[in-house]
Symmetry: D2
């Protein structure tokens, strides 16, 4: 129960530290016969990798993925898919000055409280580098979802205090990848880029918000009690480094509304499926998808490593000054977009397979 | 994987429909030798039960709990604890007019999409009545946590658009139970009560927000990757009926801050433990508790059943009018306070036992 | 991880002590829409219950099952099925003389070592009474399997040293229920009955062997690595009280054979399915069913409670004499036949649903 | 639920096919601070690897293990331990003649029934090569157990019909590794070696039995209902390729005994622990260890690949002749000894950590 696995039927286990030889993951439960083009995995990793633009950390990692098992002649075999990403640009010495000091708002102190020791090499496993393994696994989940007509798209909707207020339904999400900040509104994107650059030069960092949209999800995904679809999406998002909040559909704003305005009215069926005239439910009712778009928002805190001196204490409890050093992102949300998509895809793939059990049974039972 | 269990080492499974003979739960993994006073379980159920004030549904349920197993001579035995709550005031006929119509923003349609049929008796298992079983189990989790010095307290911090802005640190949480609305600020509580009464008379409903605070949590609880303490708390909250959002510590507001202001500085140790001068982290760093207060906010949508006519469609896709009927809450947050506490207690009890594995090992390994 | 649940997709959790108010179980994951006649559940319980013949314990328990949830208008709803069996003939005082003494080959001592206390009321949860809950759950699994054409039948093939050597293929299994000893060969059955009676009169007890046969199982059930079909069957059987061994197909005898004689040759296909000319494989190859009969044998030790004085020690380590008292079976195998069937049915129902995931996917992927 | 993970708190996930680039495993839940000498892992792999003697397959694999994560400066960190074993001597072309034919008593046909395709490269994941990953993981479990004073030793007790009847208590188990057949009795070992050589020359194969003994296990390990210690050991053994049966303590022979002879009498305590004068219980009562030696026997079928022509059918149902080819073991038991030990160590390490939860709690509760 050490918590390095995620999912039930489509289940991943990740491993590896930021400054060890490699990171990776094992996917257990991906069905047999799925055509997987390895370039699609690499493509997702390239969206997350360091050094892709001036907005992100300049640590040099090609993040080249190796498929060790589970894919044969271009198709999944039904056996575990092991994916390996060697670490290349390890500079653990960058962290030597932090060997005994606790960095503010990092996991140094809590890690030591938990395990009785600490891995001072750049956070070890608490580093966001771990999420590269999730992105690789998520790429395969995305390919699986595509067979069912489901698509996951995320974008940056807020950087620091600068928020894009336009609802996703009025945005052209195909523009998301056109700027390094991954905001689909070109004008806001430029403002965000400038804000990040200015903040970086000041040695400071920013938080932000990512909005995600799932289209094409059939009704029936999600379990009604504990494993509600949005509960699993929420856990998935909150398990990403630096995430502080999750809301879906009307979210926190919905708390301020009346039932008469918040209720989504059913309209006549299109192709046998009901639709609703509004979508405050965010595509999920009672924890189960209803066939409308699923959308949610994820809040990220500002990066804790700043290029400024900070007062802290060391293991002996003595005051120390932490000097900002190393190669870090001034704002994580641009690189977190593929991570959010990957985690959402993993949740949906899992619930798709869980619903397969019901679907197959209902068919058999009818005969 | 039908999703009716929650937790890993302290694990509950709930069962029962709102209009069947009984609901209940089984707790597996509660350690042996814990003194359990059954009145404490009943006391928590009384906080959640219908009919406790004019603010809530007038359905009449005494919610009397029976302990079927796992407790002998006042102490837990280490075996499964089965708790049973008979249903008393079932009026499934109240729902006959809804047999084929889909209620807006309810789980009728999605349930049918999932299972190929529906239980029209007041929502069946998608009814919030299921949460009574969670409250009963949570009462035992609370007793366990008390042995470790951990306390969970929640209160209503927003009803509709009416929000209490005072931070929890400046409130007297012992006042929470003094008003039926469970807001610890007496003046705001009266305003909330009036707002709920007015809305109820208009046949409408309201959403709201609950804030929860965990005190006395030792450092080290939570797992660093997927099972982060706040990720499990988030899933727990999002699994409660009507919840639309979760944030902890600085939450969504933190997304708008700079790293230099958001970082929590460590101060010198008190009794061997570090503290931080601010607590934007919400008591959790890298998914692991740091010994500071854990606090979070949970957003609830307005109740979907309103006492007004609403347009909808039936199973054949024909337009129908749903008439508001039955006995429902105009706003769920007052009764949801013990549910939030129960789910938080279940998560913390689980992670406390998970950390026991590490603690015992570290001791054994040192010898 | 307290180990009171079994199965993954068709998952049961049992609860209750032999001398508490009730025992029972919750089935999570039974698909919706299955017609369940409650009499079939009762019928299986009647096969296991005490007092059914002079061969078994005379404890008086009607073992009447109550369905608390998950079945509505004669069909499963897809939600948890809770089954309750009240205890009736509790005589915990029968055990007062054992309050501090450790009964030989019982779980008294190990239980205390594990939990730091003991429940001296007739074994509490370590009593075989717990298996009644498994039989009730297994009855529903059997109904599910019948929809897929799968049938599970067990019978007594050995009592003490008296073994029925005829292979199952030459027996008429419809005769099993004709005698209280549940051996389908009439002549051997009479010998077994006499042996049990004689042994009982001598205040002694016997072990025995149960053979089980699964017919109609389609190819493809079972997972290739850890969750091999026979590995899960083996765990299921070994989890039954008093079981000491499990073998399937050729079993221990197969260890003495050559590959050239042990290999099962494929013959031409019947109705699209291959068959083998021999079946040393026991219907399973590489952990996956091959469509032939699955058969296995389960060894039970003699009942530990004998009606003779036995030397033992008490909690203080002092020598004591245990006097045989109470109402116990002289040989468990006749009553264990429905338990073996129930556990086998639970394993097969679980793997049937697990294979549903693959089947549904393969169909979707082909489109 | 694809079944490639094993264990709950000490949990492994294996991956990799016999003819892909590598196999390996991830251990999640190994506690922090355990000193691990990588040579001990390699040493166990060397006991299992091909080519170590003339009795086993001559496939050339050095089976060199790489530690990718979870160990830092010679100690476990509490994070997942990933172990990689590259495949070296892959000759998938050896199997081209089998592309469409089904080998008797192999998993070819069942695999195809399950996954809708097959991996004809030497069995792919159904190959016993997968067990190398288990041996690597088991080596770490053994190191963990040693800290608790627990030791696991296995040996060959039967090859074909040639059985060593001497009980383990009268053998010198330190002799096991002195002969390539891993039988601790020198004379029997020589007979076994001759039998294997003769059989191999005849192009035939043999089954066998392995006996395992666990010493130093404290009382209290194992869960009383489904996860009985011997049930988990049984599943572990039955999940090893070619295993047909499992028995512990008196096993199948116990079924023929009377209660009066089978009951193990408690004797006075040694160092605060009770002992029994006999040990038909095999060190486990009610599923929980009692502090005596745990011992069990595991039956293996003869290797299915023989160097003789065999009649079979192909995918189209046409008769074909399978010619014996490739590099295979004439008898698996000598190489299976470290596999049996590894799987037993994994089960015990898991239950040791599970019992840590109870132990730590009992201590905390007493304060």
């Amino acid at each position: 129960m050490a918590g390095n696995s995620f999912g039930t039927l489509f289940r991943i286990t990740t491993f590896g530290e930021s400054h060890g030889p490699a990171i990776g993951c094992v996917i257990d439960g991906c069905p047999a016969g799925l055509e997987v083009d390895p370039h699609l995995i690499q493509q997702e990793l390239d969206r997350r990798r360091p050094g892709q633009s001036s907005l992100v950390t300049q640590r040099k990692e090609s993040d080249t993925v190796q498929v060790l098992s589970g894919i044969f002649e271009g198709k999944t075999t039904g056996t575990p898919i092991a994916l390996l990403i060697p670490n290349e640009d390890q500079r653990p010495k960058d962290y030597n000055h932090l060997k005994t000091a606790y960095r503010p708002s990092h996991a140094d102190y809590t890690w030591q409280a938990k395990f009785g020791h600490r891995d001072h090499r750049g956070g070890g496993r608490s580093s966001a580098r771990e999420t590269a393994a999730r992105v690789a696994a998520g790429a395969i989940a995305k390919i699986l979802l595509r067979k069912a007509g489901i698509q996951v798209q995320a974008y940056v909707s807020q950087v620091g205090a600068l928020a894009l207020e336009t609802p996703y339904t009025e945005l052209d999400l195909s523009q998301t990848e056109n700027t390094p900040v991954r905001c689909p509104d070109p004008e806001t994107a430029q403002q965000m880029i400038r804000l990040i650059e200015t903040t970086r030069k000041a040695g400071n960092t920013l938080g932000g918000v990512i909005t995600a949209v799932v289209t094409g999800c059939p009704p029936g995904l999600g379990e009604p009690v504990f494993d509600k679809l949005h509960a699993d999406l929420g856990k998935a998002m909150l398990s990403i480094n630096a995430v502080k909040g999750f809301e879906y559909g009307s979210g926190f704003a919905g708390a301020g509304m009346h039932g008469s305005e918040h209720n989504d009215r059913f309209t006549e069926a299109t192709a046998g499926r009901l639709r609703t005239s509004t979508n405050f439910s965010g595509g999920i009712q009672g924890g189960i998808s209803n066939g409308m778009d699923i959308y949610f928002r994820v809040a990220f805190k500002p990066v804790a490593t700043i290029m400024q001196d900070q007062a802290s204490v060391d293991e002996a409890g003595n005051p120390v000054t932490i000097k900002g050093k190393g190669r870090h992102d001034p704002c994580v949300v641009p690189r977190a977009v593929p991570i959010v998509e990957a985690m959402a895809a993993l949740v949906l793939a899992d619930h798709l397979l869980r619903q397969h059990v019901n679907d197959e049974w209902l068919m058999m039972n009818d005969e």
